[in-house]
């Protein structure tokens, strides 16, 4: 393994067991991501893209192989350590935004700081700052139902960035958005990548966006990397 890489996987394998049937979602994936890189991940449905994202985000654990992030093998962490990893080192955004409908934009963005034990005043202050970065300062008191899809995704991006992670994992962030909004969201991620030296790993079906913004694109098929550009 190369210690200069921010993220590295070694023979990463994930097998789901559904009764007696075993489904191999990822098989011996070897991947490395450098600091500040914008990596695009593409592939057909069921190719293992989301499984890869969940493993890198510490939401799931591999069946075999190892994952190293910033020199630490996260595949060997226990549940508590994985929670701390998710809290401090990685930010995640999803296709369905996954923001809490009963919270305002500000409360959603400040939410991760709650678990970090940050006082309410500081939480709100930092959340307001991040919302300004993503261009939503005027909408901070609005609930998700009062925001457009693009605005909701930007709230999700702000929430992912609140703990100042090194890596941003985006799982189909444009899947529920129109093409214009999709371009804006990916542009936002690209800006964060360039201006804040944030490492971005983005899953997307939209190859045109990948080609335009990503430094490198890998294609997954049947749980294996089949192409790298």
């Amino acid at each position: 393994m190369n210690h200069s890489n921010l993220v590295e996987t070694e023979n990463l394998t994930k097998v789901y067991a559904s009764g007696k049937i075993k489904v191999v979602a990822l098989e011996n994936v070897n991947l490395s991501v450098e600091p500040g890189e914008f990596l695009g991940v593409t592939g057909p449905s069921g190719s293992g893209k989301s499984t890869l994202m969940n493993l890198l985000g510490g939401l799931d654990t591999p069946s075999a192989g190892r994952i190293r992030v910033q020199g630490r093998f996260i595949s060997e962490l226990n549940k508590y350590e994985l929670a701390l990893y998710r809290r401090h080192q990685v930010g995640m955004i999803f296709q369905s935004f996954n923001i809490i409908s009963s919270y305002t934009a500000l409360e959603n963005v400040a939410f991760p700081l709650l678990f970090a034990g940050v006082p309410k005043k500081n939480r709100n202050q930092r959340a307001a700052e991040i919302l300004t970065v993503v261009g939503l300062s005027a909408r901070k008191d609005h609930r998700p139902s009062e925001l457009s899809g693009g605005e909701q995704q930007r709230v999700a991006i702000a929430r992912a960035l609140i703990n100042q992670p090194k890596i941003l994992l985006a799982d189909e962030p444009t899947g529920n958005l129109d093409s214009g909004t999709s371009a804006q969201i990916v542009q936002t991620l690209a800006n964060l990548n360039k201006n804040h030296h944030l490492t971005v790993i983005m899953i997307s079906h939209e190859e045109s966006l990948q080609q335009k913004f990503a430094d490198r694109v890998i294609r997954l098929c049947d749980g294996k990397i089949v192409e790298e550009q």
């Binding site: 969940n54 985000g57 939401l59 799931d60 549940k79 508590y80 929670a83 701390l84 998710r86 809290r87 401090h88 995640m92 999803f94 996954n98 923001i99 809490i100 009963s102 939410f111 991760p112 709650l114 678990f115 970090a116 034990g117 006082p119 309410k120 929430r159 703990n163």
Partner: protein, 451 residues
């Protein structure tokens, strides 16, 4: 997470589901209310009894009775035992005994229990009652709780004290109204003038007994509260007069049919003597001394242990009844929390995705259960208090019709108030164990995909 955040989160989450939270909290409040009113009733009864006993200094009294008499007759109905008793020396409770007993260390005073039947006439009402002779010093002690007026100043006065229940039976509602008024006491006397030959046959048939009545006038100086407890208490009548006034009266001191069966020796003495001690610590040595002399003793303090055991059983029974309501309320909390988890399944996934540990998630749901318990406890306490006031008013309303003075049958000591809230929180937390553990076990990958 900070404790203040857990509290804020729990209240905020519960507030979002107002109706469900309200209904669940109502369930807990009813359970706690039932428990609180049950326990406070038990404690109220205990407090009333022990407070009254202490206030009247009843724990400082020993009632002495001779080893023969009606009690003994009742206890020893067996023929052979009767014969044995007859063989024993008769111990008489007389002035000599009173003089002797007052010299025992710890004894403050002693007075005989003298009671006789009389016809009491006040205004137009007449009533048969037992009149008790009570020395003025006893009358002025804590034993006699006056509702109006004062006790008689000396043993010489032609004054008396009546009980409030006696006035009630005479349909007099204001005790103050009778103070200073006169009352007539008619006693039964043996009249030899009626016992002539012309009457002999009637007397033998029991139709024209040689009794006549003598009337005496007294002034009511005080109205005492009727002691609501049965048993060998120092006060057992509704009318109390001073000893000197009693001595001047001609009367037959027959209080029951057993008096006719007493031997000449037995009728010489008093039926009982009440011994007042300086404090309850002298009970045992004084009792031992009196029993050595061959008398029977009774001290209320001896019954205290049995009374306390009875209270414990009563408490346990009331607690068990209250716990049924609490158990039902706990099931309500479990149901509410499980519903909440199902509704917030995706939110739990989000929490975990942004860095919440299993412990954080568990605590969030724990605090929500605890918050339901807290409000349920507070409202339950208020509910129990209101219910107890209503029940108390209803009970006193009906008892007042029978002349019983107002009594608070419920007691809310501070530990019951705090304990009810603490217990409610504890029960709610226990009910929250399963839902909280279930929430902590939620797989974030599955939860984030959940619609």
């Amino acid at each position: 997470m900070r404790i203040s955040d857990y509290i804020e989160q729990s209240f905020s989450n519960l507030w979002k589901k107002k109706l469900r939270t309200f209904l669940t909290t109502c369930g807990v409040a009813i359970g706690i209310g039932a428990l609180v009113s049950m326990i406070s009733f038990g404690k109220g009864i205990q407090k009333n009894i022990t407070d009254t006993f202490t206030e009247l200094e009843l724990f400082n009294y020993i009632t002495v009775s001779s080893a023969s008499g009606e009690d003994q007759m009742a206890e020893h109905s067996d023929e052979s035992e009767k014969k044995e008793n007859q063989a024993e020396p008769i111990h008489v409770l007389n002035e000599e005994f009173i003089q002797k007993v007052t010299k025992i260390n710890g004894v403050q005073s002693a007075f005989p229990e003298i009671r006789f039947p009389a016809l009491i006439r006040f205004e137009q009402e007449e009533k048969f009652s037992l009149v008790q002779v009570l020395p003025s010093n006893v009358c002025r002690s804590e034993l006699v709780k006056l509702r109006a007026g004062k006790s008689y100043e000396s043993d010489q006065q032609d004054s008396l004290i009546v009980s409030d229940s006696f006035l009630h039976s005479m349909k007099i509602k204001e005790p103050e109204a009778v103070i200073g008024q006169t009352i007539e006491i008619s006693t039964l006397t043996f009249d030899l003038s009626l016992f002539d030959l012309t009457n002999a046959v009637s007397v033998l048939q029991g139709t024209k007994l040689p009794f006549s009545k003598q009337s005496y006038t007294f002034t009511i100086v005080g109205v005492a509260e009727r002691m609501g407890f049965a048993g060998p208490m120092p006060l057992r009548s509704d009318v109390f007069i001073p000893p000197a006034a009693s001595e001047k009266m001609e009367k037959l001191s027959l209080t029951s049919i057993w008096d006719f069966f007493q031997t000449l020796e037995q009728t010489k003495g008093y039926s009982a003597v009440n011994v007042r001690l300086r404090s309850a610590k002298y009970i045992e040595p004084v009792k031992a001394q009196i029993e050595d002399w061959g008398f029977k003793t009774f001290a209320l303090v001896d019954q205290l242990h049995e009374i306390k055991t009875g209270f414990i059983f009563m408490d346990m029974f009331l607690f068990a009844v209250g716990m049924i309501a609490i158990t039902v309320a706990s099931l309500g909390i479990i149901n509410t929390m499980v519903m909440s988890i199902l509704e917030r399944y995706r939110d739990i996934g989000i929490m975990k995705a942004v860095g919440a540990t299993d412990k954080d998630v568990k605590r969030i749901f724990f605090f929500e259960s605890g918050a339901i318990g807290f409000w349920g406890g507070v409202f339950g306490l208020a509910l129990g208090w209101v219910v107890s006031i209503v029940i108390n008013l209803v009970i006193n309303y009906f008892l007042a019709k029978q002349g019983v003075p107002y009594v608070n049958y419920f007691s809310f000591p501070w530990w019951l108030c705090l304990g009810a809230i603490a217990f409610s929180i504890l029960i709610s937390l226990a009910a929250g164990i399963y839902p909280a553990s279930r929430a902590a076990r939620v797989d974030p990958v599955v939860a984030l995909r959940h619609d």
